[in-house]
Subunit: 681 residues, 2 copies
């Protein structure tokens, strides 16, 4: 018997839209996934579409689910046509679609699973591919709903689907869950910061962290892995349906943020000098660079900025004449309101309305087209220079590598990087506490106010309070979810000599922070801990943690910190410490332990990103993270003495990360060392 190679007819390459036929490879996947049932979310385009095509070619039964029925139909028609041309029979039955599925909606996900089982009787591969790009703005400009939507669509959906299919896969004795993460979701033990995309980075890190921390709760029957594509030459990058592609969107964002941050900085600097904020905004509302640059009643910071902006334009745009657009103006007052800079002014109420008296014309772009292109080209060149092979893989190449990866029966808990060798800056998640803060840093805290946010982590928060009192702070403001929580922490704190204050957090954490701001002024340090313990449940048992329960974990442990840090990043002279959850002694190794490690890793994507973003803001607030759970169960405290030691270490870490930054001795390294770090105690 001679070896048999099935060469695709040349025309197939064009018929399928693939850049080039993978001659020498594609023919080899025939039968590789014979009879397997794959549920692919977001299967109509991009990597998901390419995966659906190759899995079908490899003999699998494929259910593609997405929002738009029409796109799914087109994708299915292409695949069916191609396979029938090659000579496959029964393709119509093997390749199915289900439209109207929104991964941000848990009911919708239930339907996707039910329909797949109804069609094929089982699910062997769950491919969590669908996702959204996210808000594409800085954390300080992002609203909580936008953040939550990204987490639902990209992250909670993965868990919810997993939770639905796990019992079936366990019963089958096999199953494979593949999360399509991103290079910007980081790597094992390492976070990557992705400015302007913090919601996205967190969701992608979460997809990866889920794989790493939950694999042992799914084995031996079920494999769970992730792929983390870097930049991929295809639909997503080029822009879907006529919309601008990723690089162009980044280019726009860079220019818009540069302008917004400059205006924001000018306003804040003027207010710091004593100019009333209402007056500044009143003048800014005129939104005329020429007028602003000439009016002596306008604060100098704004005058200079207006002059610089007036020189920046060209004929194709209006951004030399108009300082802001209505959306940027709304972001500006949104920032000022969130940061407490509008308290006591009538702007506090009108911050979200359109307040510009003059707006750029509709018939001309505001942003200079040539500059967008230049910025986009820079981003693209930067990305390419980071790829060892100097080129991006295509969607088909990524899909092919993935189809091979899926054939491997020995790997679980791993993330595969089909784009390979990107050289981006990374930050270690498992940093150890060592060294002590210099005395002069601690001395700077004397007479200042610090805020501690917590509820059940009584001894940790109390120890931090004691340590801060020891530095001579004027006020320790304890904010707890309940009055009982506040009382418990308060009574565990040593003698504060009347310096310990308490507040009960109401419906919105932001209101409580505003109240503290009004009563005790801006804090030098904020320590944010989660307000509820982790559940000790995952996939097993009648009270297993379902999608809604997981959404709660995300809200308590990620969204909560986002909300605190987003606001605090708009304060002057503030350092923020975010704390990942603890697992009570004895629970090590169980579901709560896996969740704690999931949170720690995922949160670091936020910490690393906002730390970089904040360097572009006038307030320059460092954000760092302290982790209360170690990666390995055997390293967790085994008794009261060791727990007490951990509490002491936590308090020391709070001082290290929470005291004002050291002077510029190590200037170039300061940011790297003291910002966005993640210390495990």
């Amino acid at each position: 018997m001679r070896p048999i190679n099935l060469y695709l007819p040349e025309s197939i390459a064009e018929a399928t839209g693939a850049r080039r036929a993978l001659v020498g490879s594609a023919e080899n996947i025939t039968g590789l996934h014979l009879g397997k049932v794959a549920l692919i979310t977001g299967g109509s385009a991009g990597i998901g579409g390419a995966l659906a095509r190759l899995l079908a070619l490899a003999g699998a039964r494929v259910m593609m689910v997405a929002r738009r029925e029409s796109e799914l139909e087109a994708a299915r028609a292409r695949i069916v046509g191609e396979l029938e041309d090659i000579g496959f029979a029964g393709v119509e039955r093997r390749v199915r679609i289900l439209g109207g599925i929104d991964v941000a909606n848990l009911d919708s996900l239930r339907l996707a699973v039910d329909e797949t089982v109804r069609a094929f009787g089982r699910i062997d591969y769950l491919i969590n591919n669908a996702g959204v790009s996210g808000a594409e703005e800085m954390a300080v400009d992002m609203n909580v709903d936008a953040w939550r939507h990204t987490q639902y669509a990209n992250l909670i959906s993965n868990y919810a689907l997993m939770h639905m299919v796990v019992p079936m896969m366990k019963a089958q004795g096999s199953g494979y869950i593949l999360n399509v993460s991103s290079y910007f979701g980081g790597e094992k033990f390492l976070a990557v910061s992705y400015p302007n995309r913090t919601d996205y980075a967190v969701s992608k890190a979460g997809q990866r962290a889920m794989v790493e921390s939950m694999a042992r709760h799914l084995g031996p029957e079920i494999q769970i892995n992730a792929i983390a594509p870097g930049p991929v030459d295809g639909d997503r990058l080029a822009g879907l349906g006529g919309k601008p592609g990723l690089f162009e969107r980044r280019g726009r964002l860079i220019l818009e943020n540069k302008r917004l941050n400059a205006v924001h900085a000018a306003v804040v600097k003027a207010v710091r000098r004593g100019e009333p904020v209402a007056g500044i905004l009143g003048r800014l509302a005129r939104n005329d660079t020429v007028q602003l640059s000439h009016d002596k009643s306008v604060p100098a910071e704004l005058r200079e900025l207006a002059l610089a902006c007036a020189r920046e334009g060209d004929e194709t745009c209006s951004w030399d004449r108009f300082l802001l657009t209505p959306p940027l103006a709304a972001k500006l007052t949104g920032r000022l309101k969130l940061g407490g800079w509008l308290i006591g002014t009538d702007w506090a109420a009108r911050a979200e309305t359109e307040w510009l008296l003059r707006v750029p014309p509709d018939d001309q772009p505001w942003l200079p087209v040539a500059q967008i292109a230049r910025e986009a080209a820079k981003v693209r060149a930067g990305v390419l220079s980071q790829l060892h092979l100097g080129k991006m893989p295509t969607e088909t190449e990524v899909a092919q590598a993935t189809v091979f990866f899926l054939a491997d029966r020995a790997v679980s808990g791993e993330t595969f990087m089909p784009s390979g060798g990107l050289n981006v800056e990374r930050s270690t998640t498992e940093r150890e506490l060592f060294g002590s803060p210099k005395a002069e840093r601690l001395e700077q805290m004397a007479g200042k106010t610090v805020w501690l946010i917590g509820e059940h982590l009584t001894d940790y928060v109390a120890a931090a309070a004691d340590a801060l009192l020891g530095c001579g702070v004027a006020n320790v403001v304890l904010m707890a979810r309940t009055a009982q929580g506040a009382a418990a922490i308060s009574s565990a704190v040593g003698d504060g000599g009347g310096r310990v204050q308490t507040l009960v957090i109401g419906e919105a954490i932001e209101d409580t922070l505003d109240e503290a701001l009004v009563r005790w002024g801006p804090p030098t340090t904020i320590v944010s801990t989660p307000l509820a313990p982790l559940p000790d449940r995952l996939f097993e048992g009648s009270d297993s943690l379902d999608g809604a329960g997981f959404a709660e974990v995300v809200d308590t442990n990620l969204t909560h910190h986002f909300r605190v840090a987003r606001k605090a990043s708009l304060f002057d002279h503030c350092q923020v410490v975010l704390v990942s959850p603890d697992v009570p002694m004895g629970q090590g190794g169980g579901p709560a332990f896996a969740l704690a490690n999931f949170v720690k890793t995922t949160l670091h994507a936020f910490t690393a990103t906002i730390a970089v973003e904040n360097e572009r803001l006038v307030h320059d607030v460092p954000v760092n993270q302290i982790n209360l759970t170690r990666r390995v169960r055997s390293e967790e405290p085994r008794g009261d003495a060791e727990h007490a030691e951990e509490v002491r270490r936590f308090a020391r870490a709070v001082l290290l990360a929470g005291a004002p930054l050291p002077d510029a001795e190590d200037s170039r390294y300061r940011a790297r060392v003291y910002r966005g770090m993640s210390i495990t105690v």
Copy 2:
């Protein structure tokens, strides 16, 4: 055309020795590597043999090279037979072998390349699979030749072959280099410690580091990646040719080392109390547990140990009666000699001779067989508990994943983990310097002696000397390769008030350290820097860095530190700091920069391993590492001021890592934080 699946006849599974036929997968690789030429080192067994088989099945032309011709012939016969049975023609021509190839020998490697090209006209895939297990003993017991042999066989061979094939692959416009590393080679930015296998861990980390640091010097034509298998159920683990398998070897080693370390500790403790070492060894030579435990003239430490040992045995063995075997006795006196404990005694000369007066009988095992089995089972259970799927992959599974991985044209610079999800302890290579050493640690250095080893890194070494003089040390001993080097450093040091001494390193670094030991007593801190700069060459140009040149880099930057640390680990109250090479300003991004990152990563495997080993020794010497080169070119100093800042940071890091350990406040974490760390300054 219907899909065509080539099912293998059932009998093939047995015929090939594979555990099970990979029905549903194996038939799919037909043609996947059609026409490609693969050179596989160590292709006769294990993963290499499985790879050769699958690559041949996938249509490649395969050259298997190894030492033993007979084994190669058997492997080839199996593959040829299998492929002919399936129906392939011309297999005899496609699958070739070359015996007598020793990867530890550069000439032998040249022959392998030449013969492959002669047979097939080109090389598409270089698969660096051959390797040795290494010395399998603690670093302090390992001799320099054994260490070097492991580096030649496992690491230098990879580079040497790469250097030979790169011009050909560049000319072809494509090529793929695959290094078969190991899970114990660590992961990107992370080192894994592998006690008793430091030579092996370093060589495996080097294979991986090479991929990460050199990929961009090989692209866009050439891909270079690694696979890092974890435990694999196959030849290597089970033991080749009737020899004991890995777990049994580990079990033996654990028992032997426990005994050796206990005797060693007893001797050292007695000497510390003032007992003359010669007398102790004289009594120990009797090697009779009963006698030793009853003789009041024997130091108490040894008496107690002998008593405990006498109770440990069973009828199957003699280790309750004999404290040591001749090999362990030689290791014991080897340690004492290396650590300077025999200076001035007549034992210094006879340390390596057989000195036991009484040795265990030949007709009975010394080690208790049941205990070996118990230890081996513990090791095996520990490994299995770390695998998410609770099972080890087979060699065929690993090979299949690799054959798929090799088909991917987009990945370079990456390490693929075909065993997936091992949960072992890792240590971060890119740790940042932060915090300062506590004053009480620095005060402990007053009046002590410190050793600084260096040559060309004048300003770094001088700054460290100044910082140490500032702590009030009694002597700074500068050891340089040349008298000029010593003079340059010495004159760059500030006023030492006669406290700065110099020594010129002769042929062997060990002799110089012994001289310093005699003249100024044991040091509290040793800072070891490489004695020559890195070459700024790799694969390109007429003066490219060949295998011999690379061997020199390994010797200067890895073997050198091994020699210093091995000896220093046998001193009392000593801290060791190993320094990875610097790249002069302006060279960033070039070959030297890649080499510096290669060294830094590879050295950390040593640092992390010896740090753990040393905790099992009576001297308990912490070993840490400082890196002078950052991972990204843009972070390197860009001018004199930034260089000066880096030098200051280096001196601070030397104090942090070099001062005596802090007290046990953070007891359980002390080892994690202060040992085996790798700080980049």
